[in-house]
Amino acid sequence: MKFCTVKQYFDDENNNNVTNGIATTVIPLPNKHLKIKANNKEMEQYEQELLRNVMPQELTKLILAANYLNFKEALDFFCRTVANAIQNKSVDYVRKFFGLESDFEPGEEEKLCKEFAWSFEGVDED
């Protein structure tokens, strides 16, 4: 862990993403990671737990924190968790998961679906 960056992270008053919650999740990560890196099953369980307890919005903050701290393994882990959550899911499901709303002009979305038809072939509806 790069301790100078961590200190900077807390000292940086302009960084609006600093909250105690995030710090307590990210900072103990290196140890947890080293411990569970070898065991894939444990990783899966940890990932499930993470998804259950941490809303997508919180996961965003974790990703930003890991990126700021230059902590590659944590960044990959959190990003992969988000990716796994939306894998093979329909566009509607993903929108709901991220709390997104479609802001396309009428007809634009259909055009895109036609243009990339194979992308929408055989996707499960949630």
Binding site: I63, N67, A83, Q87, G99, L100, A117, E121
Partner: protein, 456 residues
Amino acid sequence: MATESNSEVEKCDEVDRISDLPDSLLCHILSFLQTKQTVATTTLSTRWKPVWTMVPSLDFQDTAERQQNQGDNHGNNDLNMMFTQFVCRVLALREPVPLKKFRLLLNPYYFIDPTHLHTWISYAIGHHVEEIHLFRVRTRSQPLELPPSLFSCKSLKTLMVHGEIIVNCPSSIHLPNLLCLGLLRIKYTNEESFHRLLNGSPNLLKLIVWRYQQDNMISFNISHPTLRLFFFDNQVQDPRFRLELNAPSLKHLLLWDRNCHGYLLHNVTNIIQANMFNLCEHGNFCHCILKLLSVLPNVQSLTLRYNKSLGPGFYLPMFNNLRSLQLKVKCCKWLILLNLLQSAHNLETLTLNKMDVEGPHESCWIEPLQVPKCLESRLQNFYFVRFSFLDHELELVKYILKNAQVLKTMGIHNGVSNWEEEFLIRWEMLDFPRGSLTCQLEFLTVEPGWICPWDR
């Protein structure tokens, strides 16, 4: 009042945060998904529309199950056309950012057009690709040749090709950064082509070659200074076959072959892990296996699989560094175990993995005159897969329980489905005298797993 304001606050938190992430981080998330999915995100919202074009990897997997004759939905031709159009469009619309990984996992009903393969690979090469994976390449006529520019791609680190491909390696080959090369079920224009490819990859670490058909090769001369892992699966029966291996940096060797003769290994004393799956049936089998074993004096982990019975009374070299041994053999064909126990003084884990429970059953355990050294001071784990409660098997278990002084785990996996018999014998086993006070006797219901050997 309090609840009202709370719900107001919650509503604010519901506002999409993921989209607040910068493009680079959104791309990072998408890089863990197949391209089919990443492109679909273009319809999420206007903010998301262009993100997929900047993802630094392309992973086209057409694995949807199809039938020979598709029903009312799209026919196979339609689906194939949709796939081709998709790939072409993606490549045309993608931002000119570097491409780290390009993977094609094609459908068994998809026959790739040679010009398309060339265009797509050339695109990848033109974008400094580091990994290229081509799986299940099928053509309507001749096997496809890979574009010559591929063989001088400086950025390439991994190349895995599988399917109806023929390697015609040009003399201008130069792959300075190639670390991992997988040639799976492909053909070569001639022997020189293969050897040129190997010599043109001076920093290669992993070489995987699977031969399932005549591929214009008879002799393989694998002489490479940096090679660390070599996985050779040879299903081609040919009495003229020869493989000469000279790899001083080699640490991991996997040899799966029906022809056990024809192998000449030198300068491979650094091998620490060897998996030898030998299904050969001919007479000189014993001699060949011994010849192979004798060049592995420093091996730490050994897996041996064979069909024929190796008799006793032959000379085995000492394996002073052998810590883990797995024997995958047919029922009653593990006579070699005695010799191995006596040659491997430092053995810590032993797995007797029977492939079946078929007869005729004959004893292959003779109690040694002297307790093998590894049992006295080293053996910690013993696993018996497909235990079928035969007398000599019980004798082995009894002997090990009694003499293994530092045994921690003995795992017995049941190979027969007679529950009554199993219950009675389990009960009996619990009473066997144990040389190690800390020994746990476990009855496994699942076979201990086999980890993919080249994911290291």
